[in-house]
Amino acid sequence: MQITINGKPEEVQAGTVMDVLKQKDIDPHMVAVELNTQIVERDQLATTNVQDGDKVEFLFYMGGGA
């Protein structure tokens, strides 16, 4: 199925948000995930399904400033 990840259309296998993170090789502790403008809590990543056409945003931590 096709979803939009960080604004770009991408082909992924159907499954949960956690499955998509695994396919993209992203450690779930390193990102905040938004599914269709709703934050997905870390404890719900493995139980929240991603549907065809969904918009997913991965927000990485950015801690610098000095």
Binding site: N6, H29, M30, F60, G63, G64, G65, A66
Partner: protein, 275 residues
């Protein structure tokens, strides 16, 4: 208050703007902004706000200038190496605009002094480089009800996000807690292209001025990410999270505390970024 002839000339390009005018310039001249960190982000924020004629600029930083800072921390010049950052900053700001009242605090921003430090100020700017400090600033501004302009930079990327406590999403609405220690680089070892500090810092200063003037659309409930490699911005809409541990419906955090300081251990480069 009224402006002198010199001040009217100095701020004439602001006063010409219908959205600012003499009235707005007075708001700027009466505003107090607190900048946590006089480094990469703090430098452009302080310089541009000073040039804009901000009334009071509070600067807190306990560090001294290191030669490796000069690549991006434009408040500090070569002869300042080894000197207190806030002292160095105060001198540059005075040379740029002696109208600005600069309050300097050669200190670390901690859970025990945070509330006292931010109390007199109207807007707070995050210019710190550790996650514990970023979360502490977010929490302190929430408890004090102070608007905060968050900033973050890493390698070729940067982020800006404005927070009006009680009205818009806070940092913890999106990132409930810091990443596990060592997983995400936040220390100087990760590297930063100097100009990104300038880009993100000037956007933070812009947001502070907009909040002071009450003009335009603040960068609240949207996170603005910048990637210098692509010269591309990405805007992510966010909203207040009812499960936020700080500003949610059933908050766990009811007083200020500091998360454990992360060690400067990095995973292999490339662990970050998805494209």
């Amino acid at each position: 208050m009224s402006f002198t002839e010199e001040q009217i000339t100095r701020y004439s390009r602001h006063i010409l703007l219908p959205e600012v005018g003499g009235k707005g310039q007075k708001k700027i001249a009466q505003a107090k902004v607190f900048v946590v960190g006089a480094g990469g982000l703090g430098s452009p924020v302080a310089l541009y706000l000073a040039a804009a004629g901000i009334g009071t600029l509070g600067l807190i930083d306990g560090d001294v200038v290191d030669r490796s800072n000069l690549q991006r921390q434009v408040l500090h010049h070569t002869p300042d190496v080894g000197r207190s950052k806030v002292q160095s900053a105060k001198e540059k700001i005075f040379l740029l605009n002696p109208d600005v009242n600069v309050e300097t605090y050669e200190d670390r921003f901690t859970a025990s002094n945070a509330m006292d430090y931010i109390a007199p100020y109207d807007v707070v700017i995050d210019g710190v480089d550790t996650f514990p400090a970023k979360f502490l600033i977010n929490d302190a501004c929430y408890f004090a009800g102070k608007p905060l302009v968050h900033g973050g930079i890493l390698r070729f990327e940067g982020r800006v996000f404005s927070i009006v406590p009680g009205q818009s999403a806070c940092y913890r609405c999106v990132f409930p807690e810091p990443p596990p220690p060592g997983l995400v680089p936040s220390c100087q070892e990760a590297g930063i292209i100097g100009v990104v500090a300038g880009i993100i810092g000037t956007i933070q200063a812009t947001e502070a001025l907009k909040l002071i003037l009450g003009i335009g659309d603040p960068l609240t409930d949207r996170i603005l990410d910048f990637d210098a490699r692509k010269t591309a911005f990405r805007e992510i809409r966010v909203k207040r999270n009812p499960r936020c541990p700080l500003c949610g419906d059933h908050p766990d955090i009811t007083e200020l505390f500091e998360h454990e300081q992360e060690a400067c251990q990095l995973q292999a480069p490339g662990a970050l970024g998805i494209s």
